[in-house]
């Protein structure tokens, strides 16, 4: 191990900050800021960020030379534009033992120029456990036209700051946002940015004796649109990142996040000491694995780590680990975070001579990954890759509802990395075919001569829909009770009985069966109407906006298939009055087919409904296609089957 590398991540945690920056004055309020009452292009904006400035002083820059700390100074000015904008008068700042909050100050500037400082008693740091805190602040005298100023500093025990600076805001438009990176000249940095919604990011760079200064800014940023099933904030927000590639001195070059090889090497330095402290792990692994086939042994170890080692939330870098930890502690304490569990599983597999590799994976819900930028913070989970019968199988030991080779839907189709320092390997997490993510119901209903419906139903879930339901309840009775409650809400007129739910974790499969009978008091006697798509339908259109107004694409959870089959039969003396129209939609966004088959002689109707969604991400220009698909389904689902007495 090269101590120099580890230093950046770990050793500095022991060294307290040695210098404190002075709290700067707030910039004077300009006439333009005073006069502003609305934001062009943002009608009804309740408040606006006039500016948001950041200054990142990296360890070694200027007067902080000799300190092991880095400082992020943040300064924000918000103007309240409407009565409802007053709700922006509270802020919350997250900080921790690692990123310490210092020098907070704030004020309200009233429309007449009166300055009302935020008293210290208006702010308070609240411990949230695991050395994390949130400081919440209420501004005084907030009114329409008031300007809220606040500033603070976060002090890091490390030069490495690999989180992006977001120019955009989730709720308010931003007139100007900028970040100034101040970097000592011995650092080599890599610039990265992302933007959308027509926002232009600009930058300028200068050098001085203290080092380099990079100023990056963007202006007139709209509030990020939050549309149903829209992309995550990080996809749309204008942002910038400065990644430390290397530190170059006269005697050595310390390579950091220069490429995936050096980036993974850094993290490996955190893993290695944990792996080395593995007393008893191999022995325990062999005990658990038993004497079955290679696959059985792998399954046994996977199940053990998945089920018997509790998954704790991690803090900081998701793929990182506390190098002071150990595998034997994780094993004996029976708990660890996602990464620690993956390391333990890998060590246990090694003990039974199964080669494996770690895989860093990213959750689509946190934003798109740019694999060209070697930033470990892209990733949210660590999986373990093994070969089974010549096939690559990914093991996620964090979620007790996951079968071998399954992983949460959000990780499918995303770039991933095998963090091998000598040969980092990029790959994509495979996407499960839509037919494996199945929701299917089979319903058999019979109308008796009195006009009462009764029958049986089966719901089959596989893949992700099954995973979402598996092990949500502690015992079969409660699981059945939950399903019964759901079925009762879907079949309001019916009594639901004999509910049985079978969960097969290792097959990612849930089967629910039930009996149903129309309540006597709901029987009309001469007429029956039935929503044939129940219990999965009827669908309500989630995409009500016309395409012209939609600004963002669509991100659904996973590709899937939904199928419904209803067999309905009725006695002599009744006739079919109406049924859903045949519908077939083969749109770019998916496929829909609804059909009915009437067997007159048998007095039977078979209704089938199938909807396929083949992809997760849809571009804005594909919005109308997915909207049309769901509109077709909604229209079809609204059509009832009606039987009347002759």
């Amino acid at each position: 191990m090269k101590p120099g590398l580890l230093t950046f991540f770990v050793l500095l945690t022991a060294v307290p900050g040695v210098l404190r920056a002075q709290t700067p004055e707030f910039p004077p309020i300009t006439g333009e800021e005073r006069a502003l009452t609305s934001v062009p292009g943002e009608p009804n904006a309740p408040a606006v960020v006039l500016f948001r400035k950041g200054e990142f002083l990296m360890e070694g820059y200027g007067r902080l030379f000799g300190s092991f700390d880095s400082h992020l100074r943040a300064q924000t000015r918000v103007k309240i534009l409407t009565e409802s904008g007053k709700s922006n008068g509270e802020i919350a700042i997250a900080h921790s033992d690692f990123a310490r909050l210092e020098g907070f100050s704030a004020r309200t500037v009233l429309p007449d120029g009166t300055i009302v400082p935020v008293p210290a008693r208006n702010s308070s740091a609240r411990p949230r456990g695991e050395g994390t805190f949130v400081t919440a602040v209420a501004f005084p005298s907030v009114q329409v036209g008031a300007i809220l100023d606040y500033q603070y500093e976060l002090v890091f025990d490390s030069p490495i700051f690999i989180e992006p600076w977001y120019f955009s805001d989730e709720e308010m438009p931003v007139l100007r946002s900028e970040i100034v990176y101040k970097i000592a000249s011995d650092w080599r940095m890599r610039y990265w940015s992302r933007t959308s919604l027509g926002v232009k990011i600009e930058k300028e760079e200068a050098s001085s004796s203290k080092g380099r200064v990079l100023r990056v800014w963007a202006e007139d940023l709209p509030a990020i649109p939050r549309e149903p099933l829209g992309p995550p904030f990080a996809d749309l927000a204008a942002q910038v990142l400065l990644l430390p590639e290397a530190r170059i001195s006269a005697t050595q070059t310390v390579r950091l996040l220069e490429n995936w090889s050096t980036a993974t090497y850094l993290i490996e330095q955190l893993y290695e000491p944990v792996r080395q402290r593995d007393k008893g792990v191999a022995k325990r692994a062999r005990e658990i694995a038993g004497s079955g086939s290679r696959l059985q042994k792998i399954e046994a170890l996977y199940r053990f780590v998945r089920d018997e080692i509790a998954t704790e939330p991690g803090t900081g870098l998701s793929v990182g680990v506390d190098p002071g930890g150990s595998l034997d502690k994780i094993l004996s304490g029976r708990r660890g975070n996602n990464t620690e569990k993956a390391l333990l599983l890998q060590a246990m597999l090694k003990a039974i001579d199964v080669d494996s590799a770690l895989v860093w994976a990213a959750d689509r819900g946190r934003g798109l990954v740019d694999p060209h930028i070697p930033n470990p913070s892209w990733f949210d989970a660590v999986f373990v890759l093994v070969a089974v019968n010549g096939q690559r199988v990914l093991l996620d030991p964090a979620d007790p509802a996951l079968a071998l080779g399954q992983f949460p839907a959000g990780y499918e189709g995303t770039p991933a990395l095998v963090p091998n320092p000598t040969k980092p390997l990029g790959l994509f997490i495979p996407t499960k075919p839509l037919e494996q993510n199945l929701r299917r119901t089979d319903l058999e209903l019979t109308l008796d001569t009195r006009g009462r419906l009764s029958g049986r139903g089966t719901l089959l879930l596989t893949g992700h829909p099954a995973r979402e339901k598996i092990r949500r309840e502690a015992d079969p009775a409660r699981t059945a009770a939950d399903w019964k409650e759901w079925l009762e809400s879907r079949f309001r007129d019916f009594q639901i009985a004999e509910v049985k739910a079978v969960e097969l974790v290792e097959e990612s499969k849930v089967t629910v069966t039930w009996a149903l009978g129309q309540r006597e008091e709901e029987v009309l006697g001469d007429e029956v109407s039935l929503v044939p798509s129940a219990p999965l339908g009827p669908l309500t259109q989630p995409f009500v906006q016309p395409a012209a107004e939609r600004r963002t694409g669509v991100v659904i959870e996973y590709p899937d298939r939904e199928e419904t089959v209803l067999h309905l039969c009725w006695p002599e003396g009744w006739k079919l009055e109406s049924r859903p129209r045949e519908t077939t939609l083969n749109a770019a966004a998916g496929w829909l087919a609804v059909s009915t088959e009437l067997r007159e002689g048998e007095r039977t109707l078979v209704y089938t409904r199938r909807r396929d969604l083949p992809q997760r991400d849809f571009l804005p220009q594909e919005y109308e296609a997915i909207r049309s698909l769901f509109a077709g389904l909604e229209t079809s689902d609204a059509q009832k089957i009606v039987l009347i007495r002759r």
Binding site: T82, E171, K469, D475, D493, E521, V544, Q545, A638
Partner: protein
């Protein structure tokens, strides 16, 4: 995020939503739960808890670990020991590093002094037993306490002892939990039970049904609601009042306003709209309001800050006003048989109703008009449903007067009016108007104030989708809020339906499948039920006017009218010339429906359900 929450609240309120399943849950077995409460002569309380929990399922560990021990400025942890024993009998102690501290604030709070000392057990497999013994010392703000007896987990053995109550000792078991017995002793009580089942309350049960039963106890001389009122008034005496800046503000606000009602409205408007709601609950500050002068200076405060400020502003304006302790809880209510302040979570204001020229739907009870200063929308005539039908303790002249706030369902709901021209081809065009009043109106008004026009437009479309036939196309959407009493919003649009109905044969009248909504609780909700049904009272009306493509049609025998104390359902179908008019009205008049009233609820719910299942029958000429 705020806007998204608003949108989802509004849509959920108006549309029949369905979700697949709740969050993961667990059901371990509580082998032993013993709580020993010792009331000491100095008024402090020692609370010792002894807990043994067996993990029966894979979710149980995550449910019980970390285990939170509730602390606060007046509650300190004296002692704590914890361990986990595996099925093999091996015991693992919880070490100091497995203890952490976190402060929690509710979603409505900026900051709170409520703290949890969390105990993280060593991870142990199913079949293990978690053991926890801790002692908390409390100096209660009010001489009393309460302990929930049941839980979602089955309990093998329960023993709760409270002792040392001394003078003024009183207690009560509130709720139903079969198998629980109580033995009174001098200044104390012991509650025991064995083999208590895990609780799974049905849908729309009171919130307290999750606990099955609650042991409430108190001691000292603050007995009766009067005593609670005196206790609270005692707290208020610690708050500086009548400061000149507050009085000046009152005078400034009512200058040139001669009438009592106008003055009241102006001061209420200030407390509601100029003082923003920010809750900071620290120690006794959870009960004792901030001095009104401070609230006027900083222009923020929580419910009690705003209420006390309003009280003082009104008094300066010559209007009598009193603080009111109340419970904001659409799903539960105060146990009026056991006076204590712990059951309240909100503060509003009462003024004499007389002489204010109030409408018939104004929130008046016991001669008081109730005003909630945390409402940002609505006038004197509207009280948020969360504080309707609740016991309100009016703290007046050193007394506590308990009054139940009224139910004002007539203003809570929607009025949908659709005018359509139906073509022989089945195509329909026309207009739709939706009036939302009360809580739905307030939600929409807030959305209107806060959201971008395109977000409001999207929400309107979502709301209309819940009322109109599938496939409807909307244009010319517009909306307006009506200022005044209850929040009232009108939303209008042009509608077009490519195929409302289809004709069975050429020249025949197309069918008219008007959409229906089940607004009353499902009759099946009452099957085998013993717990009350708790619902939000409302009154919704729908009117469809469809101009048919042919004349001389009939629609007879389809009128329905059922009504009783609990609610009502009506349908009226008529044809005048070419115009078919279908009017429906659903109303729920009670919030808390006891089993004795279930037949009445079932009567109206069935009327709606059965009517909604029938096709609309029209006959034109000789064609049925």
């Amino acid at each position: 995020m705020k806007q998204l929450r608003l949108v989802s609240s509004l849509v959920a309120l108006l549309a029949a939503a369905s979700a697949m399943a709740p969050a993961p849950a667990a059901a371990a077995t509580v082998l032993e739960r013993a709580i020993d409460v010792e009331i000491r002569p100095d008024g402090s309380v020692s609370e010792r808890t002894h807990l043994r929990v067996r993990l029966d399922g894979p979710n149980d560990f995550a449910h019980w670990s970390p285990y939170p021990v509730y602390l606060d400025q007046n509650r300190t942890l004296e002692k704590l020991e914890a361990s986990a024993t595996g099925p093999d009998g091996k015991t693992l102690k919880v070490s100091r590093r497995d203890l952490d501290t976190m402060q929690v604030a509710g979603s409505y709070e900026l900051h709170s002094s409520r703290t949890f000392r969390t105990v993280t057990f060593p991870s142990v497999p199913v079949g293990s037993v978690l053991a926890l013994d801790f002692e908390v010392k409390e100096t209660p703000w009010f001489p009393g306490g309460e302990i929930s007896l049941g839980s979602r987990d089955a309990t093998e053995s329960l023993r709760v002892t409270v002792r040392g109550g001394g003078a003024g000792w009183r207690w009560r078991l509130d709720g139903a939990l079969p198998g629980v017995t109580a033995q009174e002793s001098a200044g104390g009580v012991t509650v025991t039970a064995s083999h208590l089942p895990g609780l799974m309350p049905p849908d729309r049960a009171p919130g307290s049904a999750d606990d099955g039963a609650v042991l409430r106890y108190a001691w000292g001389d603050a007995a009766g609601w009067d005593g609670v009122g005196r206790w609270f008034e005692g707290l208020l005496t610690q708050v500086p009042r009548n400061a000149e800046p507050v009085r000046r503000k009152a005078r400034e606000l009512i200058a040139s306003l001669p009438g009592k009602r106008e003055r009241l409205e102006a001061l209420l408007d200030f407390a509601r709209r100029q003082v923003r709601y920010v809750a900071v609950e620290v120690g006794i500050g959870g009960y004792r309001p901030t001095p009104p002068q401070q609230v006027v200076d900083r222009l923020w405060g929580d419910c009690k800050d705003k209420a006390l400020l309003l009280t003082d502003l009104l008094r300066e304006a010559g209007i009598e006003a009193w603080p009111v302790l109340i419970r904001f809880d659409p799903e539960d209510r105060v146990d009026r048989e056991f006076p204590s302040p712990f059951q309240f979570n909100h503060m509003i204001v009462a003024v004499p109703a007389e002489g204010l020229s109030l409408g018939k739907d104004a929130p008046v009870a016991g001669g008081f008009l109730f005003l909630d200063a945390t409402q940002s929308i609505g006038g004197l005539d509207w009280l948020n449903p969360g504080v309707q039908d609740q016991e309100a303790l009016v703290v007046k002249n050193g007394q506590g007067i308990l009054v139940r706030t009224p139910i004002l369902n007539a203003v809570e709901g929607s009025r949908l009016t659709v005018d359509l021209q139906l073509a022989a081809t089945g195509e329909a065009t026309g207009t739709v108007r939706l009036d939302l009043s009360g809580e739905p109106g307030a939600l929409f008004a807030r959305l209107h104030a806060e959201a971008k026009p395109q977000d409001v437009d999207r929400t309107v479309r979502q709301v209309f989708a819940a009322f109109l036939p599938a496939g409807v196309s909307l244009t010319g959407i517009r909306w307006q809020s009506v200022e005044g009493g209850a929040p009232d919003v009108r939303v209008e649009a042009q509608v077009s339906l490519p195929a409302l109905g289809t004709a069975a044969e050429a020249g025949a009248l197309p069918s008219v499948p008007l959409p229906v909504r089940n607004e009353l609780p499902a009759p099946g909700l009452l099957d085998g039920r013993t717990l009350p049904v708790v619902v939000s009272p409302f009154s919704n009306r729908t009117t469809w006017r469809v101009t048919l493509p042919q004349d001389a049609c009939k629609a007879e025998g389809q009128d329905v009218a059922v009504g009783n104390d609990v609610g009502a359902f009506q349908q009226k179908v008529s044809v005048q010339g070419k115009v078919l008019v279908v009017e429906r009205q659903a109303e729920l008049r009670r919030r808390w429906i006891e089993p004795a009233a279930f037949p009445a609820l079932k009567e109206v719910a069935l009327a709606e359900s059965r009517t909604n299942k029938r096709r609309l029958r029209l006959s034109c000429g000789g064609t049925p």
